[in-house]
């Protein structure tokens, strides 16, 4: 049990997807301008990461490993993820229009998001069991959402601030990410 907690907080805070592992940077800087869209994107990413981990882990361990085809994982995983996103989007669109209006448009963006593929690879490289993979995925998604929300809150304030003209917009967002990352460094001590 404590192992699972370690993994969860490790993925969420210590090895935060965006600030430490550099995964999912494109939506991070693209979608984080408003709090509402940031929340929607974060939840969508969380959903896709967990489902993708749940599906790719068995495929790797029961289909690829027995046939000695671990090298196929890049192709197989990306194919599975692309199909998954398609299915999730279709399901949401047909069952709950309000939810679709809230986060459906972000789902196609997640297909080519390094975060999803990255997490599936991490699950394999760290040799997690199935439950550990799910917890890692949950932690990663939660950490991503957290950072996205914080970032969007800061950026909404930044809109009203007055940085030097050359820094306005994206450059100051990067500098902000640096400070955010520095703050998250403080979490390094929580897991041994």
């Amino acid at each position: 049990m404590s192992n699972l907690i370690d993994i969860f907080f490790g993925m969420a805070l210590v090895n935060n997807l965006v600030l430490v592992k550099f995964l999912g940077l494109c939506p991070f800087f693209g979608v984080s301008k408003k709090l509402g869209s940031a929340l929607s994107m974060g939840v969508a990413v969380l959903l896709v990461i967990v489902v993708a981990s749940a599906v790719t882990w068995p495929i790797f361990h029961f289909l690829l490993v027995p046939y000695g085809a671990e090298f196929m994982r890049t192709v197989i995983f990306i194919l599975v993820i692309a199909s998954l996103v398609q299915i999730i989007e279709m399901t949401i669109k047909r069952t709950n229009l309000t939810l679709y209006n809230a986060l459906g448009i972000y789902l196609p963006l997640i297909t080519t998001n390094c975060a999803v593929l990255g997490i599936t690879f991490i699950n394999i490289d760290q040799a997690y069991t199935f439950s550990e993979s799910i917890i890692a995925a949950l932690g990663a998604g939660a950490g991503f959402t957290l950072v996205l929300i914080i970032m969007s809150g800061i950026r909404e304030r930044l809109d009203m601030a007055d940085p030097p003209l050359a820094f306005k917009g994206t450059p100051i967002a990067f500098i902000t990410a640096m400070f955010l990352g520095l703050c998250f460094l403080a979490f390094r001590g929580i897991i041994r």
């Binding site: 495929i59 690829l64 046939y67 000695g68 194919l79 669109k93 047909r94 069952t95």
Partner: protein, 281 residues
């Protein structure tokens, strides 16, 4: 072709086939796609987009969705924020091909004329919520408007302003969209939503049930003489026993001209919806 190549190709084909199959099955067996998404978006264009919740739905998108599903909803329960806007209502009615009933809409009024003196110099937290916690406010009348602007902060239409001499909030009847956010923001429960064709309102909120000993009231306040009720001929003014204040008919919104004239404190005020020609003798 080595065994390895065949395995790779085989696995890829297998996964591709399975994925395609699942997508196909999902596409077949999920409930049919709700084509009304475009319809909902189009209806939403006509709505004010304030997401105030006055219609009872969580936002304009939800209301548009409900109307797209059942257009009768628009007839029975038109968007209260849109209702006073004749031009906007007409456009939506033309689009839907329906006419809405009771398009009246609502407006907010502040039941206070602000003539009450300040009891002390208030230096605490600069919100009405904060001031109201300290002995029911810093004015002589414990029910009066404190004028610190909690309602101004929440108004999405910018219809409220603070009169600095009398330190009360004034709501502009025309600009108000009737969303009701100010009603919950006021800690003194001074603001009330009225139908948009209500011709008069009471400028006092003094309710004896909450009386505080030793506190004076303002020179304007209601003295509970019930003259307004006595002179009303068609029941346009009745007496609210619980609040001990006059109440106006909200169903028919009758004009209480006599009461307006005869009130000894002149605190029954005309609203912008008051019409001379609708006088009842």
């Amino acid at each position: 072709m080595s065994a390895q190549t065949m395995i790779s190709v085989g696995l890829l084909t297998l996964v591709g086939l399975v994925a395609g199959m699942v997508i196909f099955l999902a596409s077949r067996f999920l409930p049919k796609e709700d084509k009304s998404l475009e319809e909902v978006a189009r209806i939403k264009e006509f709505l004010p987009g304030a997401d105030c919740g006055a219609c009872g739905y969580p936002g304009c998108f939800a209301y548009a969705q409900a109307v797209a599903k059942d257009q009768q909803l628009f007839v029975n329960r038109p968007c209260p924020t849109l209702a006073p806007d004749e031009e906007g209502m007409r456009r939506l009615e033309d689009y839907l091909g329906l006419k809405a009933n009771n398009k009246v809409g609502r407006k907010a009024v502040v039941h206070c004329t602000g003539e009450s003196e300040a009891l002390a110099d208030y230096r605490g937290i600069n919100t009405c919520q904060g001031a109201a916690q300290v002995a029911s406010g810093h004015k002589e009348c414990p029910y009066g408007c404190l004028g610190l602007g909690d309602c101004v902060a929440v108004c999405p239409a910018g219809a409220i302003s603070i009169n600095n001499e009398r330190k009360i909030a004034i709501i502009d009847w025309e600009t108000c969209i009737g969303c009701g956010l100010c009603v919950s923001a006021c800690p003194q429960n001074l603001i009330e939503l009225m139908p948009a064709n209500m011709p008069q309102y009471l400028g006092c909120n003094y309710q004896a049930a909450r009386d505080i000993v030793g506190r004076n009231r303002c020179p304007d306040g209601c003295i509970h003489c019930k003259i307004c009720v006595k002179v009303s001929q068609e029941g346009e003014v009745s007496w609210d026993e619980i609040k001990d204040l006059p109440a106006f008919d909200k169903e028919c919104c009758l004009t209480a001209t006599a009461a307006i004239e005869k009130c000894p404190r002149h605190i029954i005020k005309k609203t912008a919806a008051y019409r001379e020609d609708l006088n009842h003798p």
